[in-house]
């Protein structure tokens, strides 16, 4: 039981990190960024490339090296997110929703098969593997890497929350989410803020990618597909467009999955979480924390 809760919490914090990017972008420009899961994959591969180029790393330094790689990968994936927004989404602002969605699918496809063309279609093993002592807390097996990764995830989320609540850019983001035109009239540089949103969301997804690569040890070019779907589910559960909702949704989805695969068997895990998505969309499409009324197209 405690084991399940711990597992759920751990997986859930990954989902939350990725769901944040989904939710931020959606909250601000009402765009479902299909490529978001692939940014996560991109982050994992950039981390892989950086670690490989650094050569052999002694085990004692692996955590420090990982932190540096994490930061650099976040910068690069953030830049990639900005580039994608500029090339594939900004020209289509104001275009029919279908065109934007299809463009997003195209970006996702290009990222997946671009990486497959560069890095090869076969799964790669991560050059460092986080290893650490396993100890028992209240009957749950907890390992040191898990704690470190969760602390990193929690730290990033706290920083993001501070950024959105306390800084002027954060205030601008919230105001654009409420009313884009009015924000423009109030002198907010909407395009710059949207660029920054994409940067932050993509950087968070990239961080999750590096962390997942280091923890699970195996990456492949399609790894972002299912996780993107899960992150969307998490965002919907929490209330899409709501930052705290995305964090909560990630954790809830983590729990639901941990218990679901315990009851129904691991091979049904994805089916189960998808059923939860359908259930939420039917019964409470605004999610747990979402107050905003679902708009009609």
């Amino acid at each position: 039981m405690t084991q399940l809760i711990w597992d759920g919490l751990f997986v859930g914090s990954f989902y939350a990190l990725i769901a944040l990017g989904y939710s931020m972008v959606y909250g601000i420009i009402k765009l479902l960024n299909f490529a978001h899961g692939d940014i996560y994959m991109l982050g994992a591969f950039i981390g892989f490339a950086l670690l490989t180029s650094m050569g052999g790393i002694p085990a004692s330094l692996s955590l420090g090296a990982l932190l540096i790689v994490l930061l650099v990968s976040m910068l690069i994936t953030g830049g990639a997110g900005v580039l994608i927004e500029r090339l594939a989404y900004r020209p289509l602002r104001g275009a029919p929703r279908l065109a934007v969605l299809i463009s997003a699918v195209g970006v996702s496809f290009s990222l997946e098969y671009g990486i497959a063309a560069i890095a090869g279609p076969n799964p790669r093993a991560y050059p460092i593997r986080l290893e650490g002592g396993v100890f028992e807390v209240l009957g749950a097996r907890v390992s040191l890497p898990q704690i470190v990764l969760m602390l990193i995830a929690a730290g990033l989320m706290v920083a993001l929350n501070f950024y959105i609540q306390k800084t002027s850019t954060g205030r601008a983001m919230r105001s654009i989410a409420l009313d884009t035109n009015a924000s423009l009239l109030m002198g907010i540089n909407v395009n710059a803020v949207i660029t920054r949103t994409f940067f932050i969301g993509s950087a968070l997804a990239g961080a999750a990618g590096v962390m997942a690569g280091a923890y699970y040890g195996k990456i492949d070019f399609l790894m972002g597909f299912i996780i993107g779907l899960k992150a969307f589910t998490a965002a919907v559960i929490g209330g899409i467009g709501n930052i705290k909702g995305a964090m909560l949704g990630g954790l809830v989805l983590g729990f639901v999955e941990a218990f679901g695969s315990e009851w129904f068997g691991g091979q049904w895990r994805d089916v189960f979480s998808f059923a939860v998505l359908i259930l939420f969309l039917t019964l409470r499409p605004t999610g747990i924390l979402g107050e905003r009324v679902t708009e009609r197209m």
Binding site: A88, L101, V105, G106, I278, P285
Partner: protein
């Protein structure tokens, strides 16, 4: 209220087409020419390999014409379309194997199952924003594949094989590749025609209205939810029948045939060909399915190319290469845009 935003995706045609090229493209002949080419193709090359490629392409055209109803006519993005094909193929395969029936007799069951699948996915999500539908269908596609992979009824990862042929009457064995090819072309062309006609029907007009402006459509008395659900169900039926043909063609069904890539390829055929224009969609489907066979070098990087092409087409030509043209006459311009001065005086 003075804003007069033209939201139509396709340019309106007023009067007959102007250039000789577009007159050629708009002529009714082009459908017959394509059909004739499809019928004559086996006389050019009838090796088992080329028949296999051509049958696959024909089934792909059927899928694209079904997805065109959902995406092209109604403007709903379906990213898990291949799941309907999976439902159709598995239903047909399981029933015909366990009852030793020719595949033809499984069609009623296939229809029931695909319509049910369409309702399960469409009913809760079509009330919401269309983005949700896109991602839910994406999930549905994956879930269908995973379920087929996990269940024992569907044969698990190895799938079902040794499925009986479509039909066997005396000496005419439909399992013969050439006969199956002709039958497939016949069925596919009928369904392509049907979906083109559907697009011009009253329901088709309602679909396009919903695509252009859902609120206005609702205000004009169109039950948008019902209309969207109908588009979804029609799409499901097309996909399910594609699945039956697929099962007949390969006589085996396995989960690997229904990955997301396949859904994306069908979507590309629709988008690149021109959303809502059935001729464009047929040609798009033929290009997407035949090009990798013709250009082997292209085949390795084709998915990257397709992805980039999707973005480029959306940015520069959001209606597709060959969009549907409005075929109804525009109203006289008088009542569209009264001059501003006149309204000032009228007050």
């Amino acid at each position: 209220m003075s804003e007069n935003i033209d939201t139509t995706l396709a340019p309106l045609r007023v009067g007959p087409p102007r250039s000789p090229i577009s007159r050629l493209l708009e002529s009714r002949l082009i459908g017959w020419v394509t059909l004739a080419a499809a019928l004559l193709a086996p006389f050019v090359s009838a090796s088992p390999y080329s028949l296999n490629v051509m049958t696959t392409a024909a089934i792909f055209v059927l899928l694209a014409s079904g997805l065109n109803i959902v995406v092209g006519y109604c403007g709903l993005l379906d990213l898990g379309y291949i799941a309907f094909m999976a439902v159709g193929a598995y239903t047909a395969g399981i029933i015909s194997k366990s009852f030793e029936l020719p595949l033809l007799f499984t069609i009623p069951a296939v229809l029931v199952m695909t319509i049910l699948a369409g309702l399960i996915i469409g009913a809760p999500t079509l009330r919401l924003r269309s983005d949700y539908l896109a991602i839910v269908t994406l999930g549905f596609g994956e879930i269908t594949r995973i379920t087929a992979n996990n269940l024992s009824v569907t044969g698990g990862p190895s799938g079902i094989f040794g499925i009986p042929g479509l039909l066997k009457i005396g000496g005419l064995d439909v399992e013969n590749p050439a006969v199956l090819y002709y039958l497939t072309v016949l069925v596919v062309s009928l369904f392509v025609l049907a979906s083109a006609r559907l697009g011009k029907s009253r329901l088709g007009r309602a679909w396009r209205f919903v695509r252009e402006d859902e609120d206005a459509a609702e205000a004009m008395g169109i039950h948008t939810y019902k209309v969207k659900l109908l588009a979804y169900i029609f799409g499901a039926i097309w996909g399910g029948l594609g699945g039956v043909l697929f099962a007949a063609h390969l006589s085996a069904v396995s989960p690997q045939s229904f990955i997301f890539l396949q859904s994306a390829l069908v979507l590309m055929a629709v988008v690149l060909g021109g959303m809502g224009n059935m001729r464009g969609v047929v040609i798009g489907a033929l290009v997407i399915s035949l090009l990798p066979e013709l250009l082997r070098d292209f085949a390795s990087n084709r998915y990257l190319a397709f992805g980039l092409l999707l973005v480029i087409v959306m940015v520069f030509r959001p209606q597709g290469f060959w969009p549907a043209r409005g075929y109804e006459r525009e109203r006289a311009t008088v009542d569209v845009d009264p001059p501003a001065v006149a309204t000032e005086q009228g007050r």
